[in-house]
Each structure stands twice: as structure tokens, then as C-alpha cells.
Symmetry: D2
Subunit: 344 residues, 4 copies
Amino acid sequence: MKHHVAVLGATGAVGQRFIQLLENHPDFEVHELVASSRSAGKPYSEAAKWKLATPMPEGIRQKVVKSTEEPLESRILFSGLDSDVAGQAEEAYRAKGHIVISNSKNHRMDEDVPLVVPEINPEHLALVELQKKKYGGAIVTNPNCSTIGLVLGLAPIMELGVEHMIVSTMQAISGAGYPGIPSFDILDNVVPHIGGEEPKIEEEPNKIFGKFDGKGISPNPTRISAMVHRVPSLDGHLEAVSVKFKKTVTREDIVSRMKGFEGEPQKLNCPSAPKPAVQYFEAVDRPQTRLDRELGKGMTVSVGNLRPCSVFDWKFNLLVHNTVRGAAGGTILIAELMLRKGMI
Amino acid sequence: MKHHVAVLGATGAVGQRFIQLLENHPDFEVHELVASSRSAGKPYSEAAKWKLATPMPEGIRQKVVKSTEEPLESRILFSGLDSDVAGQAEEAYRAKGHIVISNSKNHRMDEDVPLVVPEINPEHLALVELQKKKYGGAIVTNPNCSTIGLVLGLAPIMELGVEHMIVSTMQAISGAGYPGIPSFDILDNVVPHIGGEEPKIEEEPNKIFGKFDGKGISPNPTRISAMVHRVPSLDGHLEAVSVKFKKTVTREDIVSRMKGFEGEPQKLNCPSAPKPAVQYFEAVDRPQTRLDRELGKGMTVSVGNLRPCSVFDWKFNLLVHNTVRGAAGGTILIAELMLRKGMI
Amino acid sequence: MKHHVAVLGATGAVGQRFIQLLENHPDFEVHELVASSRSAGKPYSEAAKWKLATPMPEGIRQKVVKSTEEPLESRILFSGLDSDVAGQAEEAYRAKGHIVISNSKNHRMDEDVPLVVPEINPEHLALVELQKKKYGGAIVTNPNCSTIGLVLGLAPIMELGVEHMIVSTMQAISGAGYPGIPSFDILDNVVPHIGGEEPKIEEEPNKIFGKFDGKGISPNPTRISAMVHRVPSLDGHLEAVSVKFKKTVTREDIVSRMKGFEGEPQKLNCPSAPKPAVQYFEAVDRPQTRLDRELGKGMTVSVGNLRPCSVFDWKFNLLVHNTVRGAAGGTILIAELMLRKGMI
Amino acid sequence: MKHHVAVLGATGAVGQRFIQLLENHPDFEVHELVASSRSAGKPYSEAAKWKLATPMPEGIRQKVVKSTEEPLESRILFSGLDSDVAGQAEEAYRAKGHIVISNSKNHRMDEDVPLVVPEINPEHLALVELQKKKYGGAIVTNPNCSTIGLVLGLAPIMELGVEHMIVSTMQAISGAGYPGIPSFDILDNVVPHIGGEEPKIEEEPNKIFGKFDGKGISPNPTRISAMVHRVPSLDGHLEAVSVKFKKTVTREDIVSRMKGFEGEPQKLNCPSAPKPAVQYFEAVDRPQTRLDRELGKGMTVSVGNLRPCSVFDWKFNLLVHNTVRGAAGGTILIAELMLRKGMI
């Protein structure tokens, strides 16, 4: 018996990924679809301009899209709502007792909302209980797509003591949703700016790596500086990271931890948990965006090109599939973990 | 009366740019074309697979290509030779009394060879006289394409005292020459490695910014760490730079120097000297590769997106047209300056 | 003394090209800028998101944009208005005595409006006098971008007697204006549909090649079938054409006419008239979009890859720069010709 | 018990696809890998520069590559050999009793070699027995990638009586193998020429649609004219087809046949046989290269945008995944069918 779920923002780019990834999912079944009032009342096949390279799932085509005002039967809601409506809408659903697992940015930094990467800080999910007491339901958030790649690439080595780091990103166009970036702005081009992105990459990791004391989260103190860029790739954010450690760290210290890394989702056999969670490449020219983004069905973050840094200590590249692990897939993995931990 | 020059490596990507940029040049006339023995003896229009978007100059089509073994009449040689032959060939030309102004990497770090960006270190050209005494002729070199962008973007602010910096590059495919990167390796992709590129960007700037004492160059001590990437753009290397200064530096300190920067080529009205040499953009989303690479006919380096860095002090983006300012155009500007300074 | 002109739709993609191409124009000076009410009242540098790779002309930056309701001082108006407003607005300007030379599709097929490619049917401009009598002013139109390429490629050989033809196009994204095609819809993709494009390519050429009898135009009877596609190129529409002639035609019949072709703009030395108007390539792999679109500053149409067709008679490729010759540049050339013919 | 097979040309682009598609194949197991003498003797993981977005199969990495001179144990050989060696090598293998199922062009038009698309002309496989008697073994060939798309799109409607047709292709870069097209030749470009491609598309379909009388094949007489182009897409050849029928044909005649089409591989449940073999789209903007190439795991050919032609009768677009259905996948499907028909 699968759990019924609703997808919020179902016609958008992230919503479509939710629907694609939830087709034939062992735990969840898409029962309701929610979108803007423009789409509400229409069958999904009419409301959505399907943009993925796999066909729209048959069971979804005839489902009538609901508006955010209508009551929902599903308890678990996966949210890919636009940030201009997600703030209020997600709070309203929480007040009605729903568990909202969201990819939207609005509530990520709220004190009582966990910002979760399941391999890294599953213990932060305890905030769900505190929220339930306060609001009836709860909001759980998935980090920014570039953040997810960065923290998964760093997770194996954080215990070595990271002082600070500089990261430069080369982000795919799908990160901007649809219609997103006009083609005239990106073909044969690189754009050195993505509105609001750098602060997210600089702040979210420290909440994720923060200590939870049963009541709240004390952020981790590592300083991060991000320089972000949009490049003409479809999916996959590549990041160049240079790290200053607190003490001497050898290549072997890093490599052994990268190779041995796993988290609770792997141990609990969550259906979307990739094995490995982090793929380490010895090759100096990997990861590459197109070659490696599909690893672990888009859920594995890959790391490679590890080399000494003449200013800090070590530098390397990492890659995350921004709309799978970095968005819908990461959000679903949170729900899978919550289910196995008896939280939903 | 124009000076006759020869183009070495005339059929390659850099050689073609030399020929394009020297068409109707007020100082120089392409008198001889030199390429590998495979091309030697053929008219240029047969030997070269012309790849530029302006037609092959008429006066060049029928010129018969010479091999590197044949004696040359021109005193000034512009070299775009491949690095596997440039080392010996350029030395041989120097021994015969030629002035070789080269875009090849082989002799850039030689003690008695100047590595010149005309706006920055024209005084290093004095090494030419030392070479002439020793060898008969001289070699003068143009830095790596990414280096040229970086040092021109930094030149205005070096006097503020730069401690160290981290730079991440997003480089165009034309930087790899022709045939260069297979399309299957770069469409919808980013490649985090370019063989031998990072050391050049880390070392060449310190020779360029070095002090010349009449005999040799003492390198500048700023530490630089480079992380390089190939992206699917045609021309133009975009760089993300984060800089640590020795003391407090304000935005106004940087901006005023960026805007006021000029060098000897501008003062002496060298034909290829762009005005400005450095274009400063207030906009946070500039420079962009395709929009800004042609500024100053490809000779202007542009800088923008200046913002504070939470790890160092300031970060910004810069852009250089890698095959114009970063290769053939930069080399020609050296010759123009040498001419005006009475060195050739 | 230059003629003052206004640019209608000045902030759009075609409007920007008008402004770029009219900078330092010997005949015309941009005196007024007209755009939607959203832009009206603002200086142009604020109203327009400049997207061209040359800087916005200095003299334009501070000009205050007018709305389509405001009266204009300029007699000659270059229109790049969107088709949803061009219909009425251009008629209103005509009624006020203006000469509107338009790139918009709305009035192209009007009986008394000439649809002009200056090298082909300058005699159709006589309709201007008929319009002036009737309306006070006149509208003159420039064909669809793909049509312009097709008719210029065909013009030299129409006298050989063309029965019918099939043409397949591969069109650049700039043809869709800005923001135009979302990047997610075109990267690593080909789209076999452009709304309303095929009928234009099938019908407009027959008006252009039609006979003018002093009162009206009898369309040419050649049947044309078009299959259009959007491809990931920035500028330049490449077309594959297969032609059935009424009688036997040799390669030499075609090539000699292609090479010898010129029109009235070339004879009258119009400033934007390219020489040649049509560039013929012997090479089987030319024209190519990126290599050849800038020929004649974007005003030359190039033709190549001529070979026998096993179903019709001859097939070849042609290329037109869609936003220069195919839009703003073609429109300006009409005005230059009208000026030299004493019509404005 | 799976049949052991060898992959010839195992390190090339087609060879890598064979290896990818044969991983966990129910009928066949890759037992031997053959490549040029440069690769022979090395483990495959060293010899091949793996370029696919799924990891190299584990069981393959350590296999030592054999040269074409070495004897092979496998009876069935899948060939992706380069055409400069395939001619002689495949004949030599045939003489030794092997069944060579080849993607190379060399023997496609040989009188006694079948050129097979399993849904269309499985009866041509009877030529295998004739070859065996004559040579000991046999060669079976897979058509050109563009041909396969074209004939599968046409197969449902050939019975309506096709007089002639014109087809224009927009082909992906992977069709040129690796390294194939230099990126500088295709980014922001379209190239109107692919050496030798047009004759294949014009001739091969008539052999495939030819009648087999027990001894040989009489070619079908439909005239085809092809105009081919290379565009910047990674995989997937899109084709624009206009067809002249012998008599009046309605939209319903075409659509009903497109929708109802299936062949012997579907009936016999060959593992790689897609269902449907041909996907028909009502939408005017489909198929699109990136959205539809993966249908049926890359084995389905899709057709759409059906509309009347003003010169012929009907025109439409079709799409084929050139390296799956158009190369390795099509070849494997031949073998699967031969196996089920008791021919191997």
C-alpha cells in the first residue's frame, strides 16, 4: 500500500521531475497535482508543457490539476512551488496538518525548519516534531541545488577540520526553471551572475553542517565564498572548490574518506539512495557535466581532479545533477528516509 | 613603407588570426608564411583550412608557404608555432638575427626572454638588447591567453598590494587550436581540466609583474591558485577572481584605478592599442563572454561584477578575447610598441 | 544633412539592430525612438536591455523613448514593431503622412503595399505614390527573413524558368526575437516547427517576383513548399533548396548567373548594398552558418553546394543573416534606394 | 546459456554503444573485443577512451583487446569497424565461418549481402544461407543511420504507393564517430555537407524495400533526393520528408498506418524490439531531437508534424537515434531476430 502524495507546482520544471521520479515509486503514489489558478481545473496533460525526455506517465495525464486554495487529501506534499507563492502556501498547508517537503527556498533558513541532506544531517529532522506541536503539520526543506552538490562533496572531509573555502560554480540552464534563460542569453556565452545564488551557497551549508541540540541548530562556522556562473549545459552543476584545512591534510586523508562515505539512506536502503553517495574519480579531467551527471540515476555527487592548492590546501571539482539530486530527487530521498524512521 | 614580416605557423589557428589582424595593418605587411613541411611549397589558399568568419585576405591566397628550414627575408617574425617545434625553431631564427615575437609557450620563462604585456611591463623589453648581443637576434614572448586577461584585469590594482588570489577560468574552445576539442567532448558539457594551463596562470603573472633591474627580472611574490575549465563557448575566456589584499581596500580604490588605467601603447597611439585597455562594468552580470569579447576589436579586457568576498577581500569577473588580445593581437601590439620605441 | 528617422519598436531585437546599423549612417540619423507604453518616458539606456555585441551608441543612450501615441517629427519611420501592434500603429502613422518602412509581417500581403527586396523588385516601390494619394503617407515592407534569403538566392536564376521547388530551413534563434526561444527548448535540439513561417516562405516570394503593371502586382506562379526548423545557432538562416526548372538547365547556366548578379542598389551605390549581393561558393560544404553570415557586413546572401537533384533538377544551399539582411539591414536598404530614386 | 559474441572495432564510438547495449543482454554476452593493432594486447579500460554517460561495464574492463589478425572463438561478430578496414576484415571473418553483423558501409550494397531493418525486410536474411554455402560464413548489414530512420518512417505507408520524395536531414555530431567533428566546426553553426551521405540515403532504401525472389533482390523504384546537414546536437537525426504518392492519399490513410505498424521483431518479442516501432505524434512541433530520441530506449523512430505539401502530397518530420536504432541497437536487433528464426 503506497502513501498518497501531492505534487505542488506540478506543471513547473521541478514539478515535472517529481512526477517523473515518482512514477512506479515503491513508497509513494502521486494522488494530487497542484498548480496555479491558470492551470487549475484542467487535466494535467493540458495544463503542463511536458519538457522531459521520458514520456508523461500515463496515470498522470487525466488527473485534474487543483489550485493551492483547494483542500488536499494527501498528507505528504512535495513542493516545487515558485518562491513568490511558496512562502505563504507552504505555511497554510502546514497549518492544516500536512507534511510539506519542499524544494523552495522560502523556509530553508527558518529556525524550526530543518534543511536536510539525508546523508549528512538526518538528526535535524527531529525539528519536525517541534513543528507539529506548534503548527499541526511541518515543513522540511531541501537545499539549493549548488549547495547540495557542495555539501555532499564536502561531507566526507568535514571531520578533517575545514577553515574556509572558495567555490566557483558552472551551472546548467535547467536550474533556472522553464522558460528560464532565453537561448539568446546563453548560447556561446557564460553569464557571471545568478540572482540570489551566492548567499545561498555561502549560508546553507553551515545550517546543514550545524549542531542540533534537541531544540535548535547552531550553525557551523566555516566561511565560504561563492562565485557563480551560468554556462550552456542542460543539466548538472560543476563546481570548483579550494579548501583551507585547520591542520595538515594528506591526499590519502581525503581520498579514503571520499571512497568510504555513506549515510543513513544507504544503510536503510532508501529506494532513491545512490550507492555510492559520492563517486570519487582519480582522473584529472573528471567529473564532467554530461558524462557524470547521471551517475546513480542522478543522485550520486561525483568528485575528482584533486590537486594541491598553492593558496589554500587542496582543490577539486564536484558535480551534482541539479534537478535530480539537487531538487526533486533530493526531496524525495528526504521523504523516503522520514518514512523509514517512522516520521511519516 | 611597411615593415615586412613573416608569420610562423601560418596555417594554424593563431597563424590565421595573425594574417587576419595584419590585413591592412599600418606598420606591418605579411611578406612570408611559414608552416610545417606538409604545407610548404603550396599556395596558402591550398595549405590552410581557413576557419575565420572574415574571408582570407586576397594578397595572401597565392603566397607560397615556406618550411621552417628555409631562410627568411623578413627580420620580424610573428610566431604561432606549435609548442613541439617552437622551442628549437625560434632559437634557430634568433641565431640568424631575427626578432621573433612569439605566442608559443616554450621560451616564456627563459631568463633572458621578456614575457610582455605592453600596458604592464614594457621595460622588460630591454632584455632584447641583451639577447641581441648574445645571440644575434632575440625572442620576445606573449603570455598564455588566460594569463593576459588576468594580468590586465589586475594591473590597475596591483599597486594596492595583492597578497594572494584564487582564479577560476571558463575558457573557450578556440584556445585549444584546430581541430582542438572534439565536439562530442564539449557540447552540453564542462571539462575541468586543460593540460598544463594551471601552472602557466600561476607563474607567468609573477614574471610579468616582476622587477627588471637592467639585467634580469625578480619575480613578484603574489601567490596565485588557478582552477581551469573548458566550456562550450567559441571565443573569450571568462575568469572569476577573488583577491586578498595586504591592507584594507575600498570599492572606490579599485573602481577608480580600473577606470583610469592606461599604458604605454595607449600613450604612444599604437594602432592596436585599445582605449580603454580595461573596460570596467558596474553591472553585476558583466562581462559576458559573447557580449563583451569584441570590445576594442577584441583587445580590451573587461572587468565587472565587483563584490566583497567573505573569505578574501574582493571578487570580480574578467574577460579576455583569447585569440585576439590573448594571442595574435597581443603579440602584434608588442611589435607595434617595439617599433615606436625604436627597438625594431 | 542627414534625414531624421524614427525607429518603431526600438527596444526589441529588430529595433536594436536598426539602431546599431544606423550608427554613423551617411543618409539617416536616428532622431526618435518609439516603443511600448512600458518603455515610454524613459531614457533608452534604461528602457532597453541591450543584447548586441557592440556597445549601445552613445548618442542614443539619453534619448527619451516615445509611445506609439505621441506624434513624431521624423517623416521616415523604420518599424520593428511586434505584429500584435504593428497592424494598427503602422496604418495610423501612414494616415499622418509618414513613410513607414517596416519589417513587420502585418501589411506585407496588402494589395497596395510593396513587399520589396531592392535588388529584385524596386519597380514595386511605385505603389508608394498610389498609397500617398489614398492615405497621405505610405507603408513599404521588407519580407520575412527566410524569404529574403530564398528570393535573393533564386533571383539570378528565375529567368531560367522555375516550375516549383522544395525548401527546408535551419533557422537561428535570433529570428524569434527576445526573449524568444527558451534555452531549454533548443540546446542539443532541433525543433521542426515555427508558427506561421511556412506560409510566408511559400507566398511572399511570388509577390516579390510578381509583375507590376502600374496599378497592382500579379503574383508569380511558381509553387514553393517549405519545411522549417529551429536549430541552435545564433544568427543566420541556412536553407536547402531543390528546384524543378521548366526546361533543361546546366550547371553553367546557374553558376554564371549567380556570379554575375547585381541589382539597382549596387548600381546606385546604396551605402548598405553589398557587393556582391549574392556570393557563390564552389565548395560543397559552404555556405556555413557561422563562417559566412557576416559576408558583406551581413547583407550578402551566399549560395553553394550546387549539385544535381535526382527528383527535381538542381539543389543547393543558401544562407542569409536573418537580423541584418533578413530584417533591419534589408529595411534600411529599401530606404537608401528610395532616397536615391527621389521617393523620399 | 548466452551466445558468446565479439565486438569488432570495440574502442570506437559504435563499438562502445555495442558494449553498452549488450551489458546484461538476455541473448548475448560479449566474450571478445577486437580493435586496431594500436589497442591490441591492452585491457579494454586502457585501450578505450570511454565516452558514454553510463559507466564502462565491469566485466569488460579487464578483457584484453585482440587484433583483427587473431582468431576468434565467438561465432557471432558485431562489427563497428571503420570503413577503411571493414571491407577486407569482414570478408576474412566470413571466410572463417563467422556470422558478421555489421554496421559498416562496405558490404551493404553487395548483391548477396542482406541490408536489413528487421521490421521491414526480414525475408532478405535468407541470403545468409546462400552466403554460407559460398563462403562458409556470412555478412549481414545494418543500413546508414539516416536511412534507418527514413525507411522506418516510410515503412507503414509504402503500400500506399510512393512515387518519389525529397528528404532534408539535420544530423547529430555523434554520427561522425570520435573524435569526429571539431567543436570549432559546429558550435553556433550548421554544415551543409556530410561526405558520401546523400547517395546512401538515396540508394539504400530501395534495396531494403526491394523484392527478394529466393536468389536476389530487385530494388524498389522510388526516387529519393537527399540534402544532408550537420547540426549541433549530440544524438538524433531529424529528417524533413516530402512525399509524392502515386494516387490520392488522405491524412487518415497515413495516420492509421503509422499507428498500426509493427514488424516481426515485435511479434517475436525480440528483447530490443521497441513497442511501438514507430511513434506517431499529432503535435506539429514533434518529434524534437532531444525530447524524443530516447523513446523505446532509442529504438523507436518517431514521426510527426504531418501536413499537406503544396508541391508533392504530404510532408512530415521523423527522428531516429543515430547511434542506437541507427547503429549498434539496430545491428543487435538483427541478431536477436536471426536467433529467434533459428538462423544462428
